[in-house]
């Protein structure tokens, strides 16, 4: 019976400690006030000078996550006192938080929408767009597919649109086999789908149902396309590049009769159109001005985004572009 009492005592103690800690920390100001976080960091050391302290809160696209993880990791090596917190709730999820001022940087694999901009304005928040890298959305088929090499944008529309005319490969080209086209596409929540939807489908509904597989996990799409000679899919360039032995990337013809395949050069110089897309992060301009750690981190991000892009399997911007953006940030912070 004594052990029983001891158990209850321990459980009770745990709860009391929890409640006490909760009261001691003034729950009211925990997160809504970002300044609180910054001052928490200062408790640790009293020294002043070059070391920067505080927290930087980042959220947003999971496509951008690998680049941002590289950047936060490398930044931690330089500025050990700054605490970065990086989440990935998707481009839209990030904007939901950044447009109400909950986070400092919002990663996105698509530009901010008009609605999101309006929300930000209502809350007196300005989000400044920074391009981190390029990604080439790659349209792929299996290596086992021996008939397709290139597709035009029109053919893509025939395949992917709900009222498109091609459900069999032979509908596109009479020499191709009379087999159903199986579509593998990222889910409708993802920025990758948004981008494809906008540039290729032009916001018309995509084919759904029997021969269509939607998945938020790009590796599922890779596996699906890999094993089926009549499948077609699209996703970020990194996923093609890592599986290039089993996938065949298609050249995309933008209507001028010259199909272009995605690779580092064609994505960077923009000749792979219309499917090369920039990856962004949006920084809250108020944070930039008020929090030295956010300014310092943002500068670090722009200076090192190129290396991060390559580490993560994306394509870096030309150097001048990073320099321009860095100048712009310095300008903004001094206003």
């Amino acid at each position: 019976m004594n052990k029983w009492k001891l158990l209850m005592l321990v459980a009770g103690l745990l709860l009391t400690v929890g409640v006490l800690a909760a009261c001691g920390n003034a729950p009211g100001d925990a997160e809504t006030d970002e300044g609180e976080n910054a001052s928490q960091g200062e408790e640790g050391s009293g020294e002043e000078g070059d070391t920067i302290e505080g927290s930087v809160v980042i959220d947003g696209s999971s496509t951008v996550l690998p680049i941002m993880e590289y950047l936060t990791y490398e930044y931690k090596q330089e500025q050990t006192e700054v605490e970065t917190s990086l989440s990935s709730s998707g481009s839209g999820g990030g904007f939901k938080k950044s447009t109400v001022g909950e986070i400092d940087l919002s990663n996105a694999s698509r530009p901010i929408s008009e609605d999101e901009k309006a929300t930000a304005e209502e809350n007196d928040i300005t989000l400044h767009e920074i391009e981190l890298a390029y990604d080439g959305l790659s349209v792929v088929v299996s290596q086992e597919n021996d008939f397709v090499e290139n597709l035009t944008v029109d053919q893509l529309r025939q395949i992917f649109l709900a009222d498109g005319s091609a459900t069999k490969w032979s509908d596109l080209n009479s020499e191709w086999p009379e087999e159903e086209i199986k579509i593998f596409s990222p889910g409708h929540e993802s920025g990758t789908f948004d981008y494809f939807n906008e540039t290729i489908l032009e916001e018309n509904p995509m084919r759904e149902g029997e021969n269509t597989t939607l998945s938020e996990d790009d590796n599922t799409l890779v596996t699906g396309v890999k094993n089926d000679p009549y499948a077609i899919g699209y996703f970020g360039y990194a996923y093609y590049y890592e599986n290039k032995d089993s996938l065949k990337v298609l050249g995309i013809d933008n209507g001028d009769g010259e199909p272009v395949k995605p690779n580092a050069e064609t994505i960077q110089d923009g000749s792979y159109t219309p499917l090369s897309r920039p990856l962004f992060t949006y920084v809250n301009v108020n944070s930039l001005k008020e929090k030295p750690q956010v300014l310092d981190f943002t500068q670090f991000v722009i200076e090192n985004a190129g290396a991060g892009a390559e580490e993560a399997g994306y394509v870096a911007l030309p150097d001048e572009k990073y320099q321009e953006q860095l100048d712009k940030i310095n300008e903004l912070s001094e206003q």
Binding site: K3, A21, L65, P66, E69, A238
Partner: protein, 289 residues
Amino acid sequence: MNDKVNYSHIKGRVMKNAVVKWIFIMATSVALIFLALLIGRVLSQGVGYLSIDFLKNYPAPYIEEAGLFAGIMGSLAMISITAPVSMILGVCTALYLEEYARDNKFTRFIRVNVQNLAGVPSIVFGLLGLTFFVYLFEMGYTLIAGALTMSLLVLPIIVVAAQEAIRSVPSEIREASIGMGATKWQTIWRIVLPAAIPGILTGSILAFSRAIGETAPLIIVGAATAIYSIPDSLFSKYTVMPMQIYSWTARPQEEWQYVAAAGIIVLLIILLCMNAIAVWIRNKFQKRF
């Protein structure tokens, strides 16, 4: 003698007995085979990536430096809040429903609803946590908000398990206790609870195992993916093991899948340890009536 006649007489029943036995063995082995396949695959992929560094490193963009430390500490911190909160609330609820509440339509309505809650998708609890803990109580995207959301998630499971355990305490010993002049509270505290604790713990173990493996509600209440500090207060930013594992499996580079497998091994080991502790406590209190 005439053995033959006897056997043919029951032959049909013997056959049926054998068939049913094999059906049950098959059913068990299906579950076991898939468990073995899962563990085998995870082990073969992940063991090579397990190391002390993997346990004590923070997340990193490089495979050889990536680690699960932030996730391990985050998960432990979270479960050490979730466990007492949900146990105390859950057992109290079950005690009220079983010992005090009158058996009328309203109580039955509550019981059915608690059971239904146990089957609600976890993402719904995430939204609940976001609305109440993160925004209404202004806790923000912090450890305490995540832990309380998880407490809500496992609460119905614990209530149902505790109800079953309390109900299975024979009413004779309750009556004996009352008959000896003990009050209702004394009976509950000294007789019913000690007898029910093994059952309550078994249910709670299952519930906590679910909590430690959940990602969906935590994404909603703002758990981080990459963080380079461990929680030092209830209002810290945090991450948990399954968040990190999930982010690794989504990477394009194949090797990250193996890192994720290593993460799964660590998660399984921690789960096993938690269960072992609970089984140990349960055996301490085991009493047969």
